[in-house]
Each structure stands twice: as C-alpha cells, then as structure tokens.
Symmetry: C2
DNA sequence: TCTATTTGTAGCAGTAGAAGTTACAGATAG
DNA sequence: CTATCTGTAACTTCTACTGCTACAAATAGA
C-alpha cells in the first residue's frame, strides 16, 4: 500500500509554511516538526516546487516559502503534485489473454480507476490550504 | 508498491466466478488466468470469504464460487474486503508534538482521509459485479 | 475405508519502492 | 570571504507484496 505518506507530509509542510507567511523556513526546521530527515523534506519540497506551490532559495538565510497565498492553493493540487496518482494498481503481471475475462479486464479497470481518481480530486479541490490551516490551528476536527 | 493491486485481482477473480455461475473454480485455474500463483489467489479468496463474497470448499472437486448473485455484489464491498483501505497514509513517524502544526495535523488528516474514502466507496457502490462483468464480456469500455 | 484432490496456511526468499543517511558542489547574505 | 542552505547523488535500511514449497485438514467418489 500501500499508500503514500507523501501527501500527509506535504500538507504538513505546507501548513507550516502557511503559518510563517513570508519567512523562509529551513528544511532542517521542517524536518524536525515532521520528524524525519532534512533531505527527505528537501526532496518533497522539490516536487512542490515543480508544481509551483513553493519557492525555495539557496544560500545563507535561504529556505522555502509558499509561492501563493494559502487560500489560492487547494489540496487537489497538492495531491497531484506528490502522488504517483492511482487509488489501486492494475495487475502487476498482465492477465492471460487467452481468458475472456483477462483479455478485457484491464481496460475496464483503468477506466474505473480514472473515474475514481477524478472523484478524489474533485473532493480535495473543495479544500484550500487556508481551510486546512485553520482547522489545524483551532485544533478542531 | 504504492497502491494495491489486490483490488484489481479481486475483481478479476470475481468476474471469473460470475462467469461460471455455480461451478466451483479451482485456485489453480484462477491463478492461471490472473497470471500469478495459486497460493496468492487462495490468500485473496480468503479475504473475499471473510467478507462473505465467496464460498470455498476444500477437498476433491472443491473450489470457490460466489456467495451471492453478481447483481447483489457491489464494488464498494470488494474494495472494503481487500483494501487496507486508505487513499493516503498518515505520517510514517508521528510528527513532533512540540510544534503547533504537528500537534493537530494528524487528526485533521485522518478526518479528511475518512471523507475521501467515503467518496470512493459511494462511487464504487454504484457498480455491481454484474455491471462490471457485462462491460468485460462486451469488451466495451 | 481408502485414495486422489483441493483448500488453508505457515514459512522463507526475492523484489521494488520509500525512507533515512552521508557527502559535497553550488548559491548567497552579510 | 565565510558561514549557511539548498539540490542532488549514492548508498544503506526498512517494509510490504509477491512467489514458491510444503504439508495438514477436508472431502468426494470408488
């Protein structure tokens, strides 16, 4: 699964950045809060950078900050930025083509997969980073 | 691997069982179509058995068959039967409690997680095994 | 009752991807 | 110039799934 904890980490990091507005946060500081290694955070920030969600700066007093206001970033963007992107994997080894089911099942499943994924993104896009940040701040669920 | 290919395999196997109505299918035969090992299929059937989707029988001329009609089994049930069940994993290592974000982020994320998962199930529950089986049979997507 | 067959499951090796770590080049503020 | 940070490569460790062998238990049919 299993699933990826990348999304959770990304949201965590982005919430931290949202919290400290225009101040640059160091990967080391972020790693400390997320309880992982600074390089892991930098790798993650690299993905968020490519998706134009954060801006990083090298050198002394460098670090990362949000590329946009927290209310202009929605969670679907975050999901797409870090996710390999599929809810369930297709068959690891291609099913037998000699079997009437095996022959067509993959096409049907990948169609279903796309539909599910679209649903997830639709749901996530309703939340902005600002929304999420407020929930975290208020400690309310 | 990120996601699980269990769901795909489960749907494949169930479609095979739907196809052969009341006849018992052997794990070896199923494994051949799915292109994997018989033990892998038996492990999967074990999960589907627990979810009361299939019935298995040991001994000579044993095997597995559906526990209900294909139009009384929806894909959300299949998803729940085989999935550890989370779209994205929470933090692998618990975030720092000394940090105002780290303290609450997990609760917020797991709430979000539940909401997403509910959405997936809602979507999957619209399809019965019968629907899917027909799509596969007609080779149409 | 005996035999052949089939599931259920334990146990182990192989594999792939993620995470953790170390190291260092390049950028940059002061 | 120097101290500080990021970006990235390279390597190890960890973890989860897959594949496989082996065997006890169940059961149909002779």
């Amino acid at each position: 699964m299993a699933a990826n904890s990348q999304f959770s980490m990304a949201v965590h990091v982005l919430a931290m950045l949202a919290r400290s507005k225009d101040e640059n946060l160091k990967s080391d500081f972020l790693a400390c809060s997320v309880n992982t290694n600074a390089v892991v955070v930098r790798r993650l920030l690299g993905q968020l950078n490519q998706a134009k969600l954060v801006v990083s700066q090298t050198g002394a007093s460098g670090g990362s900050r949000l590329a946009r206001c927290p209310d202009e970033i929605n969670l679907a963007e975050v999901y797409k930025a870090v996710n390999c992107g599929e809810v369930f994997a297709l068959h690891a080894r291609a099913p037998s083509k000699d079997c009437p089911v095996g022959k067509n099942i993959e096409a049907v499943l990948s169609c279903l997969q796309r539909e599910i994924d679209k649903g997830i993104e639709e749901k996530l896009s309703r939340y902005t980073l600002q929304n999420l940040f407020e929930m975290v701040e208020q400690g309310k669920v």
